[in-house]
Point group: C2
């Protein structure tokens, strides 16, 4: 059945994304992935013709999961500042529920692939640039809607929020505990002039 083949492929890719957040997209090996899935290497080659094809499909699957867990919740929030806060909150929850053992797939992939060339690097770069652009659009809407002063620059604001996201991921991956996760929401709310739901308040 086609549906079964698709589910099998998706299960493989989910495991590939998971392993990549620990070992990297280059450190991900066909042998390790096969072992984790209790199948043979050549079984994997029936789905992906080469390691590069596997890497590209892994990036696609990681993008799908990130969109589902982080972007889509933000898009459902009220346009403007609400979406800026929501994208940070959704990212924090993405980390908190430990979707992947190595934190955010793309934070790692950007640094691993950034200084390389080829289709995998291009795929990672395209996703990252799309994310920054999406956040910039949220910021633009907040300014256009009068929630933020017209002296704000959407690109700079997107850069700042990307910084909060990356600092949160780095702190979380390194510390392994949820301690850092509350800082992101506090910082971004303070920066945008939104009331903070501090701890100790219901």
């Amino acid at each position: 059945m086609r549906a079964d083949g698709h589910r099998r492929r998706q299960a493989i890719l989910r495991e590939a994304v998971t392993l990549s957040t620990v070992d990297g997209l280059e450190g991900l090996s066909i042998g390790n992935l096969a072992k984790a899935l209790a199948m043979s290497k050549s079984g994997l080659y029936a789905h992906f013709g080469s390691k590069e094809e596997l890497q590209l499909a892994t990036v696609d699957e990681a993008a799908r999961i990130f969109r589902q867990e982080v972007i889509e919740p933000a898009l459902r929030a009220p346009a403007g500042v609400g979406q800026l806060v929501a994208v940070c909150d959704a990212f924090v929850e993405h980390l908190r529920r430990r979707t992947f053992p190595g934190g955010c797939f793309f934070a790692g992939a950007v640094l691993e692939m950034g200084s390389r060339s080829g289709p995998v690097k291009e795929a990672v770069a395209a996703f990252q640039q799309g994310l920054v652009q999406q956040i910039g659009e949220f910021a633009g809407a907040a300014i256009a809607g009068g929630e933020l002063p017209v002296t704000e620059d959407p690109g700079q604001l997107a850069f700042e929020i990307m910084g909060v996201i990356l600092a949160t991921n780095a702190g979380f991956v390194l510390g392994g505990d949820d301690g850092v996760l509350d800082v992101a929401g506090q910082v971004v709310r303070r920066r945008l002039g939104v009331a903070t739901d501090g701890p100790g308040r219901a």
Copy 2:
């Protein structure tokens, strides 16, 4: 001569740091490093008894270079806000002069080693935590000196500045051009209420 041996060791480690910013600390192989230095693998084992020892020495050398190029210039700036701005500017220059092909060594090492265990991860974590603490002390001095309101939190401010640093590195590594490098200074000066030397102004 001891001095020659020390220089040789340092040259090896400089190359090891350089290669690590592209291939990672795990992707750094004894064979590749030996080839880059035009020596044999066993020649490297005369300096480092194992790959883990090499990795630890590589982290130490990267820390030395980072302190020299980023921390020390900041320490020479006026205490308080001046040091917060200076640490960002020095980091940007560290990237601009392309010290390493893969950007900031520690930005990559933190994500690569974060979800692992062992002495190499601990060494990377210790450096990163020391850096955040150092920036937090700069922020504390700025608040104590009345340059920033007492409602500011040094830890949150250090987190924000680490975010600016990480977003700058990610953008630079991915884009490969100097375009992002001016944003960091603008964002951090605006955040701290310091006058911006915008482009078009001498």
